[in-house]
Protein backbone atom coordinates (compact mmCIF):
# COMPACT_ATOMS: atom_id res chain seq x y z
CA UNK A 1 0.00 0.00 0.00
CA UNK A 2 1.40 3.37 -0.97
CA UNK A 3 2.06 5.65 1.97
CA UNK A 4 -0.19 8.63 1.30
CA UNK A 5 0.78 10.39 4.52
CA UNK A 6 4.51 10.27 3.75
CA UNK A 7 4.67 13.56 1.96
CA UNK A 8 4.93 15.47 5.24
CA UNK A 9 3.09 18.58 4.16
CA UNK A 10 2.57 20.96 7.04
CA UNK A 11 -0.59 22.86 6.30
CA UNK A 12 0.59 26.03 8.09
CA UNK A 13 3.87 26.17 6.16
CA UNK A 14 1.98 25.41 2.99
CA UNK A 15 -0.46 28.23 3.64
CA UNK A 16 2.38 30.73 4.17
CA UNK A 17 4.15 29.55 0.98
CA UNK A 18 1.00 29.80 -1.10
CA UNK A 19 0.21 33.27 0.30
CA UNK A 20 3.73 34.45 -0.62
CA UNK A 21 3.42 32.83 -4.04
CA UNK A 22 0.06 34.46 -4.72
CA UNK A 23 1.42 37.79 -3.45
CA UNK A 24 4.29 37.72 -5.97
CA UNK A 25 1.91 36.67 -8.75
CA UNK A 26 -0.50 39.44 -7.80
CA UNK A 27 2.31 42.02 -7.82
CA UNK A 28 3.46 40.88 -11.28
CA UNK A 29 -0.15 40.85 -12.46
CA UNK A 30 -0.50 44.41 -11.17
CA UNK A 31 2.65 45.48 -13.06
CA UNK A 32 1.30 43.90 -16.23
CA UNK A 33 -2.10 45.44 -15.72
CA UNK A 34 -0.55 48.88 -15.18
CA UNK A 35 1.54 48.55 -18.34
CA UNK A 36 -1.49 47.58 -20.42
CA UNK A 37 -2.89 50.69 -22.05
CA UNK A 38 -3.93 49.65 -25.55
CA UNK A 39 -5.35 46.63 -27.31
CA UNK A 40 -1.87 45.91 -28.66
CA UNK A 41 -0.65 45.71 -25.06
CA UNK A 42 -3.50 43.38 -24.18
CA UNK A 43 -3.22 41.18 -27.26
CA UNK A 44 0.53 41.02 -28.04
CA UNK A 45 2.11 42.60 -24.95
CA UNK A 46 2.87 45.83 -26.84
CA UNK A 47 5.49 43.98 -28.93
CA UNK A 48 8.24 45.05 -26.53
CA UNK A 49 8.91 41.91 -24.47
CA UNK A 50 12.55 40.88 -24.14
CA UNK A 51 13.83 37.52 -25.37
CA UNK A 52 14.34 35.95 -21.94
CA UNK A 53 10.79 36.60 -20.77
CA UNK A 54 9.41 35.48 -24.13
CA UNK A 55 11.36 32.22 -23.99
CA UNK A 56 10.23 31.42 -20.46
CA UNK A 57 6.65 32.34 -21.28
CA UNK A 58 6.80 30.20 -24.43
CA UNK A 59 8.26 27.36 -22.38
CA UNK A 60 5.68 27.39 -19.61
CA UNK A 61 2.85 27.77 -22.10
CA UNK A 62 4.17 24.81 -24.08
CA UNK A 63 5.06 22.69 -21.05
CA UNK A 64 2.03 22.43 -18.89
CA UNK A 65 1.34 20.26 -15.91
CA UNK A 66 -0.04 17.83 -18.47
CA UNK A 67 3.40 17.49 -20.04
CA UNK A 68 4.92 16.76 -16.67
CA UNK A 69 2.18 14.73 -14.99
CA UNK A 70 0.46 13.20 -18.01
CA UNK A 71 3.42 12.60 -20.29
CA UNK A 72 5.64 11.70 -17.34
CA UNK A 73 3.03 9.06 -16.46
CA UNK A 74 2.96 7.91 -20.09
CA UNK A 75 6.76 7.60 -19.97
CA UNK A 76 6.44 5.47 -16.83
CA UNK A 77 4.09 3.24 -18.81
CA UNK A 78 5.86 3.10 -22.20
CA UNK A 79 9.48 3.64 -21.11
CA UNK A 80 12.42 5.73 -22.29
CA UNK A 81 11.21 5.71 -25.92
CA UNK A 82 9.35 8.92 -25.04
CA UNK A 83 12.73 10.66 -24.86
CA UNK A 84 12.36 11.07 -28.64
CA UNK A 85 9.71 13.61 -27.77
CA UNK A 86 12.18 15.48 -25.57
CA UNK A 87 14.51 15.64 -28.54
CA UNK A 88 11.74 16.91 -30.82
CA UNK A 89 10.56 19.49 -28.31
CA UNK A 90 14.07 20.97 -28.26
CA UNK A 91 14.95 20.63 -31.97
CA UNK A 92 11.51 21.42 -33.40
CA UNK A 93 9.82 23.17 -30.48
CA UNK A 94 12.67 25.56 -29.74
CA UNK A 95 15.45 25.67 -32.35
CA UNK A 96 13.37 25.32 -35.54
CA UNK A 97 10.37 27.14 -34.05
CA UNK A 98 12.35 30.19 -32.94
CA UNK A 99 14.66 30.54 -35.94
CA UNK A 100 12.70 29.27 -38.94
CA UNK A 101 9.22 30.20 -37.72
CA UNK A 102 9.62 32.85 -35.03
CA UNK A 103 11.80 35.29 -36.94
CA UNK A 104 9.63 35.53 -40.10
CA UNK A 105 6.36 35.34 -38.14
CA UNK A 106 7.44 38.32 -36.04
CA UNK A 107 8.42 40.32 -39.13
CA UNK A 108 5.15 39.50 -40.91
CA UNK A 109 3.07 40.36 -37.84
CA UNK A 110 4.82 43.74 -37.53
CA UNK A 111 4.40 44.44 -41.28
CA UNK A 112 0.69 43.64 -41.20
CA UNK A 113 -0.11 44.78 -37.66
CA UNK A 114 -1.50 41.33 -36.79
CA UNK A 115 -2.39 40.67 -33.19
CA UNK A 116 -3.77 37.12 -33.24
CA UNK A 117 -2.89 33.83 -34.89
CA UNK A 118 -6.00 33.96 -37.09
CA UNK A 119 -5.37 37.56 -38.06
CA UNK A 120 -1.81 36.80 -39.11
CA UNK A 121 -2.83 34.15 -41.65
CA UNK A 122 -6.04 35.92 -42.63
CA UNK A 123 -4.29 39.23 -43.34
CA UNK A 124 -1.48 37.51 -45.25
CA UNK A 125 -4.04 35.94 -47.62
CA UNK A 126 -6.59 38.75 -47.30
CA UNK A 127 -9.15 36.22 -46.12
CA UNK A 128 -11.72 36.91 -43.42
CA UNK A 129 -12.80 33.29 -43.66
CA UNK A 130 -9.39 32.04 -42.50
CA UNK A 131 -9.40 34.39 -39.52
CA UNK A 132 -12.96 33.40 -38.67
CA UNK A 133 -12.36 29.67 -39.10
CA UNK A 134 -9.23 29.63 -36.98
CA UNK A 135 -11.04 31.66 -34.32
CA UNK A 136 -13.94 29.18 -34.29
CA UNK A 137 -11.56 26.22 -34.16
CA UNK A 138 -9.63 27.69 -31.26
CA UNK A 139 -12.79 28.62 -29.41
CA UNK A 140 -14.44 25.22 -29.87
CA UNK A 141 -11.53 22.82 -29.50
CA UNK A 142 -9.17 24.64 -27.19
CA UNK A 143 -11.43 24.24 -24.13
CA UNK A 144 -10.92 20.47 -24.51
CA UNK A 145 -7.16 21.01 -24.32
CA UNK A 146 -7.56 23.48 -21.46
CA UNK A 147 -9.68 20.93 -19.62
CA UNK A 148 -6.98 18.29 -19.68
CA UNK A 149 -4.50 20.80 -18.29
CA UNK A 150 -7.03 21.36 -15.51
CA UNK A 151 -7.32 17.58 -15.03
CA UNK A 152 -3.54 17.17 -14.73
CA UNK A 153 -3.25 19.97 -12.20
CA UNK A 154 -6.23 18.86 -10.16
CA UNK A 155 -4.90 15.27 -10.10
CA UNK A 156 -1.67 16.53 -8.63
CA UNK A 157 -3.37 18.68 -6.00
CA UNK A 158 -5.61 15.73 -5.16
CA UNK A 159 -2.62 13.50 -4.59
CA UNK A 160 -0.26 16.03 -2.98
CA UNK A 161 -2.72 17.72 -0.65
CA UNK A 162 -5.12 14.79 -0.29
CA UNK A 163 -8.00 17.09 -1.16
CA UNK A 164 -11.05 16.18 -3.16
CA UNK A 165 -10.47 16.18 -6.94
CA UNK A 166 -13.61 18.21 -7.61
CA UNK A 167 -12.60 20.89 -5.13
CA UNK A 168 -9.09 21.06 -6.58
CA UNK A 169 -10.50 21.48 -10.09
CA UNK A 170 -12.93 24.17 -9.03
CA UNK A 171 -10.33 26.16 -7.06
CA UNK A 172 -7.90 26.16 -9.96
CA UNK A 173 -10.55 27.34 -12.40
CA UNK A 174 -11.59 30.21 -10.11
CA UNK A 175 -8.01 31.41 -9.57
CA UNK A 176 -7.19 31.30 -13.27
CA UNK A 177 -10.52 32.88 -14.23
CA UNK A 178 -9.96 35.92 -12.01
CA UNK A 179 -6.35 36.14 -13.10
CA UNK A 180 -7.02 36.15 -16.84
CA UNK A 181 -10.12 38.31 -16.84
CA UNK A 182 -8.31 41.11 -15.04
CA UNK A 183 -5.08 41.03 -17.07
CA UNK A 184 -3.72 41.05 -20.62
CA UNK A 185 -0.81 39.27 -22.25
CA UNK A 186 1.76 41.40 -20.39
CA UNK A 187 0.37 40.13 -17.11
CA UNK A 188 0.34 36.59 -18.44
CA UNK A 189 3.96 36.78 -19.64
CA UNK A 190 5.39 38.46 -16.51
CA UNK A 191 3.83 35.83 -14.29
CA UNK A 192 4.84 33.11 -16.76
CA UNK A 193 8.49 34.06 -16.34
CA UNK A 194 8.21 33.90 -12.55
CA UNK A 195 6.46 30.53 -12.79
CA UNK A 196 9.20 29.29 -15.13
CA UNK A 197 11.94 30.00 -12.60
CA UNK A 198 10.10 28.04 -9.92
CA UNK A 199 9.55 25.16 -12.36
CA UNK A 200 13.20 25.16 -13.34
CA UNK A 201 14.28 24.83 -9.73
CA UNK A 202 11.72 22.09 -9.03
CA UNK A 203 12.30 19.97 -12.12
CA UNK A 204 16.08 20.40 -11.98
CA UNK A 205 16.18 19.09 -8.43
CA UNK A 206 13.77 16.26 -9.31
CA UNK A 207 16.05 15.04 -12.10
CA UNK A 208 19.27 15.12 -10.11
CA UNK A 209 17.80 13.66 -6.93
CA UNK A 210 16.07 10.82 -8.82
CA UNK A 211 19.32 9.69 -10.41
CA UNK A 212 21.14 10.20 -7.13
CA UNK A 213 18.62 8.17 -5.11
CA UNK A 214 18.72 5.31 -7.61
CA UNK A 215 22.53 5.02 -7.53
CA UNK A 216 23.55 7.25 -10.45
CA UNK A 217 22.81 7.37 -14.18
CA UNK A 218 24.20 4.01 -15.30
CA UNK A 219 23.11 2.05 -12.20
CA UNK A 220 19.57 3.45 -12.48
CA UNK A 221 19.29 2.55 -16.18
CA UNK A 222 20.75 -0.93 -15.61
CA UNK A 223 18.40 -1.52 -12.70
CA UNK A 224 15.44 -0.54 -14.87
CA UNK A 225 16.64 -2.67 -17.79
CA UNK A 226 16.71 -5.68 -15.46
CA UNK A 227 12.98 -5.26 -14.81
CA UNK A 228 11.90 -6.11 -18.34
CA UNK A 229 10.42 -9.41 -17.20
CA UNK A 230 7.97 -7.44 -15.09
CA UNK A 231 6.28 -5.93 -18.17
CA UNK A 232 2.66 -7.11 -17.97
CA UNK A 233 1.79 -9.84 -20.49
CA UNK A 234 -0.78 -7.73 -22.30
CA UNK A 235 1.71 -4.93 -22.84
CA UNK A 236 4.45 -7.32 -23.95
CA UNK A 237 2.03 -8.79 -26.49
CA UNK A 238 1.33 -5.25 -27.77
CA UNK A 239 5.05 -4.63 -28.36
CA UNK A 240 6.46 -3.43 -25.00
CA UNK A 241 10.03 -4.76 -24.71
CA UNK A 242 11.06 -3.19 -21.41
CA UNK A 243 11.49 0.40 -20.22
CA UNK A 244 15.00 0.88 -21.66
CA UNK A 245 14.14 -0.50 -25.12
CA UNK A 246 12.15 0.78 -28.07
CA UNK A 247 8.76 -0.93 -28.57
CA UNK A 248 8.75 -3.67 -31.24
CA UNK A 249 8.79 -1.99 -34.66
CA UNK A 250 5.28 -1.71 -36.13
CA UNK A 251 3.55 -2.96 -32.97
CA UNK A 252 0.52 -1.25 -31.42
CA UNK A 253 2.67 0.44 -28.78
CA UNK A 254 5.24 1.52 -31.37
CA UNK A 255 2.56 3.27 -33.42
CA UNK A 256 1.07 4.91 -30.33
CA UNK A 257 4.42 6.14 -29.03
CA UNK A 258 5.90 7.23 -32.33
CA UNK A 259 2.93 8.46 -34.33
CA UNK A 260 0.69 9.86 -31.61
CA UNK A 261 2.89 10.95 -28.75
CA UNK A 262 6.27 11.72 -30.32
CA UNK A 263 5.34 12.96 -33.81
CA UNK A 264 1.88 14.31 -32.95
CA UNK A 265 3.16 16.59 -30.22
CA UNK A 266 6.68 17.12 -31.55
CA UNK A 267 5.47 18.44 -34.91
CA UNK A 268 2.18 19.86 -33.68
CA UNK A 269 4.01 22.40 -31.55
CA UNK A 270 4.79 24.44 -34.67
CA UNK A 271 1.12 25.14 -35.29
CA UNK A 272 -0.01 25.99 -31.76
CA UNK A 273 -1.79 29.37 -31.80
CA UNK A 274 -0.82 30.23 -28.21
CA UNK A 275 2.85 29.61 -29.05
CA UNK A 276 2.85 31.35 -32.43
CA UNK A 277 1.46 34.43 -30.67
CA UNK A 278 4.55 34.56 -28.44
CA UNK A 279 6.71 35.34 -31.49
CA UNK A 280 4.66 38.49 -32.10
CA UNK A 281 5.49 39.90 -28.69
CA UNK A 282 9.25 40.45 -28.91
CA UNK A 283 10.91 43.79 -29.50
CA UNK A 284 13.33 42.74 -32.22
CA UNK A 285 14.47 39.71 -34.18
CA UNK A 286 17.62 39.12 -32.17
CA UNK A 287 15.40 38.68 -29.11
CA UNK A 288 14.35 35.37 -30.63
CA UNK A 289 17.96 34.16 -30.84
CA UNK A 290 18.53 35.26 -27.27
CA UNK A 291 15.35 33.44 -26.33
CA UNK A 292 16.88 30.19 -27.60
CA UNK A 293 19.38 30.21 -24.76
CA UNK A 294 16.74 30.20 -22.04
CA UNK A 295 14.28 28.15 -24.12
CA UNK A 296 16.63 25.23 -24.78
CA UNK A 297 17.61 24.87 -21.13
CA UNK A 298 14.07 25.28 -19.88
CA UNK A 299 12.47 22.78 -22.26
CA UNK A 300 15.16 20.18 -21.53
CA UNK A 301 14.59 20.40 -17.79
CA UNK A 302 10.83 20.12 -18.26
CA UNK A 303 10.35 17.34 -20.81
CA UNK A 304 13.72 15.68 -20.20
CA UNK A 305 13.06 15.40 -16.48
CA UNK A 306 9.51 14.12 -16.93
CA UNK A 307 10.50 11.49 -19.51
CA UNK A 308 13.52 10.31 -17.52
CA UNK A 309 11.90 10.30 -14.09
CA UNK A 310 8.74 8.61 -15.42
CA UNK A 311 10.39 5.34 -16.50
CA UNK A 312 12.71 5.35 -13.47
CA UNK A 313 9.70 5.51 -11.14
CA UNK A 314 9.19 1.82 -12.01
CA UNK A 315 12.56 0.96 -10.49
CA UNK A 316 11.79 2.94 -7.36
CA UNK A 317 8.35 1.37 -6.87
CA UNK A 318 9.68 -2.15 -7.49
CA UNK A 319 12.46 -1.61 -4.95
CA UNK A 320 10.10 -0.15 -2.35
CA UNK A 321 6.81 -1.92 -2.99
CA UNK A 322 7.60 -4.79 -5.33
CA UNK A 323 5.24 -3.47 -8.00
CA UNK A 324 5.66 -1.44 -11.20
CA UNK A 325 4.42 2.16 -11.31
CA UNK A 326 1.20 1.49 -13.28
CA UNK A 327 0.15 -1.15 -10.73
CA UNK A 328 0.87 1.17 -7.81
CA UNK A 329 -1.25 3.86 -9.49
CA UNK A 330 -4.04 1.28 -9.98
CA UNK A 331 -3.92 1.70 -13.74
CA UNK A 332 -4.38 5.49 -13.86
CA UNK A 333 -1.06 6.61 -15.33
CA UNK A 334 -1.88 10.27 -14.62
CA UNK A 335 -1.30 9.50 -10.92
CA UNK A 336 2.19 7.97 -11.29
CA UNK A 337 4.29 11.16 -11.13
CA UNK A 338 2.41 12.66 -8.15
CA UNK A 339 2.68 9.34 -6.26
CA UNK A 340 6.37 9.07 -7.08
CA UNK A 341 7.08 12.60 -5.85
CA UNK A 342 5.06 12.14 -2.69
CA UNK A 343 6.84 8.93 -1.78
CA UNK A 344 10.41 9.44 -2.91
CA UNK A 345 11.10 13.10 -2.39
CA UNK A 346 11.78 14.84 0.95
CA UNK A 347 8.91 16.77 2.50
CA UNK A 348 10.29 20.21 1.68
CA UNK A 349 10.55 19.25 -1.99
CA UNK A 350 6.82 18.57 -2.14
CA UNK A 351 6.27 22.29 -1.46
CA UNK A 352 8.64 23.24 -4.29
CA UNK A 353 7.31 20.75 -6.81
CA UNK A 354 3.77 21.64 -5.85
CA UNK A 355 4.47 25.29 -6.60
CA UNK A 356 6.19 24.18 -9.82
CA UNK A 357 3.21 22.19 -11.01
CA UNK A 358 0.80 24.85 -9.83
CA UNK A 359 2.88 27.36 -11.81
CA UNK A 360 2.86 25.10 -14.86
CA UNK A 361 -0.91 24.81 -14.62
CA UNK A 362 -1.65 28.47 -14.02
CA UNK A 363 0.71 29.70 -16.72
CA UNK A 364 -0.52 27.33 -19.41
CA UNK A 365 -4.20 27.72 -18.59
CA UNK A 366 -3.93 31.51 -18.44
CA UNK A 367 -2.24 31.56 -21.85
CA UNK A 368 -4.83 29.23 -23.35
CA UNK A 369 -7.71 31.22 -21.93
CA UNK A 370 -6.10 34.42 -23.22
CA UNK A 371 -5.87 32.94 -26.73
CA UNK A 372 -9.46 31.72 -26.52
CA UNK A 373 -10.60 35.15 -25.44
CA UNK A 374 -8.73 36.92 -28.25
CA UNK A 375 -10.01 34.39 -30.77
CA UNK A 376 -13.53 35.11 -29.57
CA UNK A 377 -13.28 38.88 -29.28
CA UNK A 378 -11.01 39.57 -32.24
CA UNK A 379 -11.19 36.72 -34.77
CA UNK A 380 -14.87 35.87 -34.39
CA UNK A 381 -16.86 38.86 -33.15
CA UNK A 382 -14.81 41.73 -34.59
CA UNK A 383 -14.21 39.88 -37.82
CA UNK A 384 -17.90 39.11 -38.12
CA UNK A 385 -18.72 42.79 -37.64
CA UNK A 386 -16.12 43.79 -40.23
CA UNK A 387 -17.75 41.37 -42.66
CA UNK A 388 -21.41 42.17 -42.00
CA UNK A 389 -21.24 45.82 -41.02
CA UNK A 390 -17.79 47.31 -41.63
CA UNK A 391 -19.03 50.80 -40.76
CA UNK A 392 -19.85 49.66 -37.22
CA UNK A 393 -16.18 48.99 -36.45
CA UNK A 394 -14.36 52.23 -35.81
CA UNK A 395 -10.92 53.15 -34.52
CA UNK A 396 -12.18 53.08 -30.97
CA UNK A 397 -12.90 49.38 -31.29
CA UNK A 398 -9.29 48.77 -32.13
CA UNK A 399 -8.07 50.32 -28.92
CA UNK A 400 -10.45 49.01 -26.33
CA UNK A 401 -10.89 45.60 -24.86
CA UNK A 402 -14.53 44.82 -25.44
CA UNK A 403 -16.50 43.24 -22.64
CA UNK A 404 -17.36 40.51 -25.09
CA UNK A 405 -13.78 39.20 -24.82
CA UNK A 406 -14.24 38.67 -21.11
CA UNK A 407 -17.48 36.82 -21.79
CA UNK A 408 -15.36 34.61 -24.04
CA UNK A 409 -13.02 33.91 -21.14
CA UNK A 410 -15.94 32.83 -18.98
CA UNK A 411 -17.53 30.62 -21.65
CA UNK A 412 -14.20 28.93 -22.42
CA UNK A 413 -13.52 28.33 -18.75
CA UNK A 414 -16.97 26.92 -18.00
CA UNK A 415 -16.81 24.55 -20.98
CA UNK A 416 -13.33 23.45 -19.87
CA UNK A 417 -14.58 22.67 -16.35
CA UNK A 418 -17.53 20.68 -17.68
CA UNK A 419 -15.26 18.68 -19.99
CA UNK A 420 -12.76 18.10 -17.18
CA UNK A 421 -15.50 16.42 -15.14
CA UNK A 422 -16.51 14.20 -18.03
CA UNK A 423 -13.10 13.05 -19.22
CA UNK A 424 -12.02 9.49 -18.43
CA UNK A 425 -8.77 8.58 -16.59
CA UNK A 426 -5.35 8.33 -18.31
CA UNK A 427 -6.51 10.92 -20.81
CA UNK A 428 -3.90 13.68 -20.51
CA UNK A 429 -1.15 12.58 -22.91
CA UNK A 430 -3.51 11.38 -25.66
CA UNK A 431 -5.81 14.38 -25.49
CA UNK A 432 -2.79 16.68 -25.79
CA UNK A 433 -1.67 14.74 -28.85
CA UNK A 434 -5.22 15.11 -30.27
CA UNK A 435 -5.14 18.91 -30.01
CA UNK A 436 -1.60 19.21 -31.29
CA UNK A 437 -2.38 16.83 -34.17
CA UNK A 438 -5.50 18.63 -35.32
CA UNK A 439 -3.72 22.01 -35.19
CA UNK A 440 -0.77 20.72 -37.21
CA UNK A 441 -2.96 19.04 -39.84
CA UNK A 442 -5.08 22.16 -40.24
CA UNK A 443 -2.52 24.94 -40.07
CA UNK A 444 1.08 23.79 -40.50
CA UNK A 445 1.30 23.82 -44.33
CA UNK A 446 -0.48 27.17 -44.43
CA UNK A 447 1.83 28.68 -41.80
CA UNK A 448 4.89 27.55 -43.76
CA UNK A 449 3.40 28.98 -46.98
CA UNK A 450 2.45 32.17 -45.17
CA UNK A 451 6.05 32.99 -44.29
CA UNK A 452 8.05 31.25 -47.03
CA UNK A 453 6.04 30.96 -50.26
CA UNK A 454 5.06 34.16 -52.01
CA UNK A 455 3.23 32.10 -54.64
CA UNK A 456 0.84 30.50 -52.14
CA UNK A 457 -2.74 31.63 -52.51
CA UNK A 458 -5.84 32.36 -50.51
CA UNK A 459 -7.68 29.46 -52.19
CA UNK A 460 -4.76 27.14 -51.46
CA UNK A 461 -4.69 28.15 -47.81
CA UNK A 462 -8.44 27.74 -47.34
CA UNK A 463 -8.46 24.36 -49.12
CA UNK A 464 -5.49 23.17 -47.07
CA UNK A 465 -6.96 24.22 -43.73
CA UNK A 466 -10.34 22.63 -44.47
CA UNK A 467 -8.91 19.40 -45.90
CA UNK A 468 -6.38 18.97 -43.09
CA UNK A 469 -9.01 19.64 -40.47
CA UNK A 470 -11.59 17.35 -42.09
CA UNK A 471 -9.22 14.43 -42.65
CA UNK A 472 -7.79 14.72 -39.13
CA UNK A 473 -11.23 14.88 -37.56
CA UNK A 474 -12.42 11.94 -39.67
CA UNK A 475 -9.37 9.98 -38.54
CA UNK A 476 -10.02 10.71 -34.88
CA UNK A 477 -13.74 9.93 -35.11
CA UNK A 478 -13.68 6.86 -37.36
CA UNK A 479 -10.17 5.39 -37.53
CA UNK A 480 -7.93 6.00 -34.51
CA UNK A 481 -9.26 3.58 -31.91
CA UNK A 482 -8.18 5.62 -28.86
CA UNK A 483 -10.64 8.34 -29.82
CA UNK A 484 -13.14 6.57 -32.07
CA UNK A 485 -14.03 3.96 -29.44
CA UNK A 486 -14.85 6.33 -26.55
CA UNK A 487 -16.60 8.75 -28.92
CA UNK A 488 -18.84 5.92 -30.16
CA UNK A 489 -19.88 7.69 -33.39
CA UNK A 490 -18.28 5.04 -35.59
CA UNK A 491 -20.10 2.27 -33.70
CA UNK A 492 -23.37 4.16 -33.94
CA UNK A 493 -23.12 4.60 -37.71
CA UNK A 494 -21.10 1.60 -38.91
CA UNK A 495 -21.53 -0.86 -36.03
CA UNK A 496 -17.80 -1.06 -35.26
CA UNK A 497 -15.35 0.93 -33.13
CA UNK A 498 -13.04 1.76 -36.04
CA UNK A 499 -13.58 1.56 -39.79
CA UNK A 500 -10.31 -0.21 -40.66
CA UNK A 501 -8.11 -2.89 -39.11
CA UNK A 502 -4.68 -2.51 -37.46
CA UNK A 503 -2.37 -0.65 -38.11
CA UNK A 504 -4.86 2.11 -39.05
CA UNK A 505 -6.38 1.82 -35.59
CA UNK A 506 -3.09 2.96 -34.06
CA UNK A 507 -1.69 5.37 -36.68
CA UNK A 508 -2.20 8.95 -35.56
CA UNK A 509 -4.42 10.86 -38.04
CA UNK A 510 -1.67 13.50 -38.25
CA UNK A 511 0.30 10.98 -40.30
CA UNK A 512 -2.13 11.10 -43.21
CA UNK A 513 -3.96 14.39 -42.59
CA UNK A 514 -0.79 16.49 -42.72
CA UNK A 515 0.41 15.17 -46.13
CA UNK A 516 -3.13 15.62 -47.51
CA UNK A 517 -3.25 19.19 -46.21
CA UNK A 518 0.21 19.96 -47.64
CA UNK A 519 -0.58 18.43 -51.06
CA UNK A 520 -3.88 20.28 -51.33
CA UNK A 521 -2.14 23.53 -50.39
CA UNK A 522 0.53 23.12 -53.08
CA UNK A 523 -1.79 21.92 -55.86
CA UNK A 524 -4.53 24.52 -55.31
CA UNK A 525 -1.95 27.31 -54.97
CA UNK A 526 -0.38 26.28 -58.26
CA UNK A 527 -3.66 26.63 -60.11
CA UNK A 528 -4.87 29.86 -58.52
CA UNK A 529 -3.63 33.45 -58.46
CA UNK A 530 -1.33 34.76 -55.73
CA UNK A 531 -2.22 38.02 -53.94
CA UNK A 532 -1.24 41.31 -55.64
CA UNK A 533 2.46 42.15 -55.77
CA UNK A 534 1.98 45.33 -53.67
CA UNK A 535 0.41 43.28 -50.90
CA UNK A 536 3.19 40.70 -51.03
CA UNK A 537 5.83 43.43 -50.95
CA UNK A 538 4.20 44.81 -47.84
CA UNK A 539 4.04 41.35 -46.25
CA UNK A 540 7.65 40.45 -46.97
CA UNK A 541 9.21 43.86 -46.38
CA UNK A 542 12.48 43.59 -44.43
CA UNK A 543 12.46 39.76 -44.57
Amino acid sequence: MINEAAMGVNIQILTIIIILYVAVLSYLAYLGHKATKSSEDYLVAGRDINGGIMALSYGVTFISTSAIVGFGGAAAFFGFSLLWLTLLTIVVGVIIAFVLFGVPIRKLAVNLGSTTFGELIGQRYKSRFITFFSGIMIFIFMPAYTSIILVGSARFLESALLINYDIALFLLAIVVGIYVITGGLKTVMYTDAFCALIMLAGMGYLLFSTYSNLGGVVAAHEGLAALKDMVPEGLAAAGHQGWTSMPALGSEIWWTVISTIVMGVGIGVLAQPQLVMRFMTVKKTSSLYRAMVAGSIFVFFMTGTAFIVGPLSNLYFVQELGEIAATVAEGNIDLIIPLFINNMMPGWFVYLIMLSLLSAAISTISSLIHVQATAWGRDIIRNFRLWKAPDSVNDEDLDTIPWITRIGVLIGLIVSIILAYRLPGSIIARATAFWFGICAASFLPTIIGTIYWRGSTKAGAIASIISGYTVALFGFVFMHIDESKPLGISRLIFGRDALFEFPWTHIDPLFYALPVSALVFIIVSWFTSAPAKEHLDRCFDNF
Binding site: L83, H221, T244, M246, Y289, M292
Partner: protein, 54 residues
Amino acid sequence: MLMVGMEDGWIALVWWLSIITPLAGVIYGLLNWNSEGRIAKKESEESQGVSHND
Protein backbone atom coordinates in the same frame (compact mmCIF):
# COMPACT_ATOMS: atom_id res chain seq x y z
CA MET B 1 29.91 3.73 -21.50
CA LEU B 2 28.02 5.21 -24.45
CA MET B 3 25.07 2.92 -23.74
CA VAL B 4 24.71 4.50 -20.26
CA GLY B 5 23.13 1.29 -19.01
CA MET B 6 20.35 1.23 -21.62
CA GLU B 7 19.46 -2.07 -23.24
CA ASP B 8 18.68 -0.57 -26.63
CA GLY B 9 21.15 1.50 -28.69
CA TRP B 10 18.36 3.75 -30.00
CA ILE B 11 17.37 4.66 -26.46
CA ALA B 12 21.00 5.33 -25.51
CA LEU B 13 21.32 7.53 -28.62
CA VAL B 14 18.25 9.59 -27.84
CA TRP B 15 19.34 9.96 -24.21
CA TRP B 16 22.63 11.48 -25.37
CA LEU B 17 20.95 13.64 -28.02
CA SER B 18 18.54 14.97 -25.40
CA ILE B 19 21.53 16.18 -23.40
CA ILE B 20 23.51 17.56 -26.35
CA THR B 21 20.82 19.41 -28.34
CA PRO B 22 19.93 21.91 -25.60
CA LEU B 23 23.64 22.79 -25.43
CA ALA B 24 23.62 23.26 -29.22
CA GLY B 25 20.60 25.56 -28.85
CA VAL B 26 22.37 27.59 -26.19
CA ILE B 27 25.54 27.95 -28.30
CA TYR B 28 23.56 28.92 -31.41
CA GLY B 29 21.60 31.47 -29.43
CA LEU B 30 24.76 32.97 -27.95
CA LEU B 31 26.45 33.15 -31.37
CA ASN B 32 23.49 35.13 -32.73
CA TRP B 33 22.97 37.16 -29.57
CA ASN B 34 23.50 40.44 -31.38
CA SER B 35 22.63 39.40 -34.92
CA GLU B 36 20.67 42.56 -35.70
CA GLY B 37 23.48 44.75 -34.41
CA ARG B 38 25.95 42.95 -36.68
CA ILE B 39 23.67 43.26 -39.71
CA ALA B 40 23.09 46.96 -38.99
CA LYS B 41 26.84 47.52 -38.59
CA LYS B 42 27.57 45.69 -41.85
CA GLU B 43 24.89 47.68 -43.71
CA SER B 44 26.23 50.90 -42.24
CA GLU B 45 29.76 50.00 -43.34
CA GLU B 46 28.52 49.07 -46.82
CA SER B 47 26.59 52.31 -47.20
CA GLN B 48 29.64 54.27 -46.07
CA GLY B 49 31.69 52.35 -48.62
CA VAL B 50 29.20 53.21 -51.36
CA SER B 51 29.16 56.91 -50.51
CA HIS B 52 32.94 56.88 -50.31
CA ASN B 53 33.09 55.40 -53.81
CA ASP B 54 30.62 57.93 -55.03
